[in-house]
């Protein structure tokens, strides 16, 4: 169908980091249950959820344990069955303390209404509003990494109309293969999920964007897509950061989302491929978001794998399952190499937005000493948003926040291409990020 079509990509900037997709051939394994889980109450962008259970309560798998408060928030469900032993402040991925619920695992007792069988349920019986309510109840957030509550994205402003749904299967980060495996192993379920999203958004067209380095997924999904009207697979040229919403929209439709506007302003809505799968499970099987696929990878790991992990499992448990932490480990990263967060402790839990755990040896993580800027303009060339990172960094250091705002620092995706390319090893993104927070304070 589209196999012979010329590959598209976005125009401006971008880099080609090494891919290191070590786990793209390893089937998804189900991780055994841990002894206890720590479920953070702010796993999403927006207001933290409010606990609805108390210490000593017994909970089942899939039971609501914290309720989203306000519009931009998400429900949180127990990912295991057992006893609530603690509701307290515990370190999150940054090490700062956030409220969390700790549950000790006892057996594996699921809520009755969750359909546990793996049969494909293709017929979408619910109405649009019922689906939306299901998605909201199930606490689904964007699983690509940003963890923005999905139901908020599905409710369009009254005066706006979506023409197409874009499904993000790009996975442009090095190492990560969780979406790739999902597409190969749960392709049909995912397609049903996409149909559900299309029904909610009332669009006739869905475009799945997949980078060309996942040829098997492209072939597989193209085959399945013929059975689902309106869904088409688009192979894309490999380029980072194509998984960014704005870049993906441009690559697929040629439309550029203007500064501080939303995708719906150019008539599209973007959802991640694993979000589509979570939507399928929530709507067709009543299963809230309690587990996800996490890639545990790294060149020094004994058994890099893709795991289905219950939310709240500790990162240490995952790394043990992948063969244990190698002796020469320098960094453990949650997420991808380009945008992920380095962890300061292994005792942090898996959250909804965590797509991978990377173990990087010591000699590969050291930053080189900072040298003076030689104004080579490479950062300007690679910036996918057309910004001038060298300028934004020096403006941040000088505290010139009004000029920073004028130079559109808030458009920065924090993709890290500038820091990646800089020959003088300058921490461009470190300062730009600081500049962004400072500018947000003044406007």
């Amino acid at each position: 169908m589209r196999r012979n079509q010329a590959l598209t990509t976005y125009k401006k900037g971008g880099i080609h980091p090494a891919e290191y997709k070590l786990t793209d051939k390893s089937p998804v394994q189900i991780l055994p249950l841990p002894e206890k889980v720590t479920i953070l109450l702010s796993q999403h962008i927006g207001v933290p959820a409010i606990p609805v259970v108390s210490k000593g309560d017994t909970v089942k798998v899939g039971q609501l344990i914290a309720q989203g408060k306000g519009f931009v928030s998400a429900n949180i469900h127990s990912s295991v069955s057992g006893k609530v032993v603690k509701i307290d402040s515990l370190p999150d991925l940054t090490g700062y303390k956030k409220s969390a619920i700790v549950i000790e695992v006892e057996g594996d007792d699921w809520e009755e209404n969750i359909i546990q069988s793996t049969d494909l349920l293709k017929d979408i019986t619910l109405s649009k509003d019922e689906i939306l309510e299901k998605i909201r109840e199930s606490g689904i957030v964007g699983l690509g990494g940003a963890a923005f509550p999905s139901h908020v994205k599905l409710i369009l402003p009254r005066d706006k109309k979506a023409e197409a749904l874009i499904i993000n299967g790009v996975e442009c980060e090095p190492y990560l293969t969780s979406d790739h495996r999902l597409m190969l192993e749960y392709g049909e379920e995912m397609m049903v999920g996409i149909r559900i999203l299309m029904k909610v958004l009332n669009v006739r067209k869905a475009m799945i964007g997949i980078e060309n380095n996942k040829a098997d997924a492209i072939y597989h999904l193209t085959d399945i897509a013929s059975k689902f009207p309106g869904i088409e697979v688009y192979p894309l040229k490999v380029k980072y950061p194509q998984g960014s919403e704005k870049q993906l929209i441009e690559a697929l439709t040629g439309r550029e989302v203007p500064s501080r506007k939303l995708p719906v302003d150019v008539g599209v809505i973007v959802h991640n491929i694993s979000t589509a799968y979570a939507v399928y499970e929530a709507v067709q099987k009543n299963k809230p978001l309690i587990n996800r696929i996490v890639t545990v990878s790294g060149k020094s790991l004994k058994k890099p794998s893709n795991f289905v992990v219950r939310i709240g499992t500790s990162v240490r448990f995952l790394i043990e399952a992948a063969g244990g932490l190698p002796e020469n480990t320098g960094k453990v990263i949650s997420g991808g190499l380009m945008m992920g967060k380095a962890l300061n402790s292994l005792d942090v839990p898996v959250i909804k937005g965590m797509s991978g755990i990377l173990v990087i040896p010591e000699d590969e993580t050291k930053r080189k000493p900072i040298e003076p800027c030689i104004r080579c303009s490479k950062c300007v060339t690679v910036c996918p948003m057309g910004l001038e990172p060298y300028l934004l960094m020096s403006l941040t250091q000088n505290g010139n926040f009004y000029r920073l705002e004028k130079e559109m620092v808030l458009d920065c995706l924090e993709c890290g291409s500038c820091s990646y390319i800089c020959p003088a090893n300058r921490p461009l993104l470190d300062y730009i990020r600081l500049g962004k927070t400072d500018v947000k304070k003044i406007i």
Partner: protein, 333 residues
């Protein structure tokens, strides 16, 4: 776990380019030029190049180590480039005792007085070259003929560069067609068999260098292409209007320092604009200024002045010329 984990902000992976890498890339690109100069000017070229390079590196080391008392940065290769570029725009019989103040001026005043690599507004090699050109015009404009590899240093027969011949001839009222007989053929111009600065004669070597720089992505096409195109168009117009008084575009490109300037001098990272659009504006202005100086000014060659003048405008270009922001086009759509 015995060892502590490292935490740093993203990204956690870095590209392979480093400042020394890029600098040594430029040096590699200059190798054909250096070889060509040695081929045509023999020991003279060897002496001029080695003295300029060694003295530049030495001055950078001495000033940083003893005067500024900072960490020395000679290993990044930028001083070598400054020395190389300075020597490549000198005649092969240039007195050694003048090369040394030239590189001192280039490194000391042109680069380190502004705060070292990355902070100099003007290309240090050109600063040195113009310093020598204005202070010692006699030595700077005695051009030995290219006579193939030879072992003499000072006593080579000297002659004029093609640009000099044209300039002086036109001044005396000769017509171009008459003068064209006196200058080397295009083939000689292309391969560098003529009088001139050691590095600017062999067009073919310079173009090889350009190809390498572009392939390794050390520079982008914007600056060299815009300079050369502007010169072609501008001199082309002049030539079409009055062929008797103006040389043709091909002659202008192949003679003098336009190629050396456009490929290696104007593209200097530190002193060129940051955006593609800015680079094109910068290149066009350099092209126009060069032709204006060549045709209407009193000097036969104008590339170095044109580049230095435009170096001064780079901060202004950077301030006003912004890259096209993402999503800008559809602002009204």
């Amino acid at each position: 776990m015995s060892k502590l984990l490292t935490v740093s902000p993203s990204p956690h992976i870095y590209g392979k380019d480093t400042t020394p890498n890029l600098m040594y890339g430029v040096i590699i690109a200059l190798i054909p030029v250096v070889l060509a100069s040695i081929l045509y000017f023999g020991w003279g070229a060897v002496i001029v190049i080695s003295v300029a390079v060694i003295s530049s590196v030495l001055f950078e080391f001495l000033i940083q180590r003893f005067l500024l008392q900072k960490k020395t940065t000679i290993q990044d290769g930028s001083a070598i480039i400054t020395g190389l570029l300075l020597s490549l725009c000198l005649p092969s019989n240039f007195p050694v005792w003048l090369i040394i103040p030239g590189s001192l001026f280039a490194i000391g005043v042109g680069k380190l007085s502004f705060g070292g690599l990355g902070n100099n507004p003007f290309n240090p090699a050109l600063v040195g070259r113009v310093f020598l050109f204005i202070s010692f015009p006699a030595q700077m404009t005695s051009w030995p003929e290219a006579q193939g590899f030879q072992t003499q240093y000072i006593d080579a027969t000297t002659g004029a560069t093609p640009l000099n011949i044209i300039k002086e001839g036109l001044g005396k009222g000769d017509s171009i067609s008459h003068l064209m007989d006196k200058i080397p053929t295009y083939q000689q111009l292309f391969f560098g068999n003529m009088g001139g600065s050691i590095g600017e004669v062999a067009a073919v070597a310079l173009i090889l260098g350009l190809a390498y720089l572009l392939l390794r992505k050390i520079i982008t096409w914007h600056i060299p292409v815009s300079i050369i195109l502007t010169v072609v168009i501008f001199t082309g117009i002049l030539w079409l209007v009055n062929p008797a008084q103006n040389a043709d575009p091909l002659f202008h490109i192949l003679s003098g320092g336009i190629l050396l300037g456009a490929i290696f001098m104007a593209t200097d990272y530190v002193t060129s604009p940051m955006t593609g659009k800015g680079m094109i504006i910068y290149g066009i202005c350099i092209g126009i200024l060069t032709v204006v100086i060549r045709r209407f000014g009193s000097y036969p060659e104008g590339v170095q002045f044109a580049i230095l003048i435009m170096n001064g405008f780079v901060p202004l270009i950077n301030y006003y010329i912004k890259p096209k922001r993402f999503g800008e086009e559809v602002k009204n759509g």
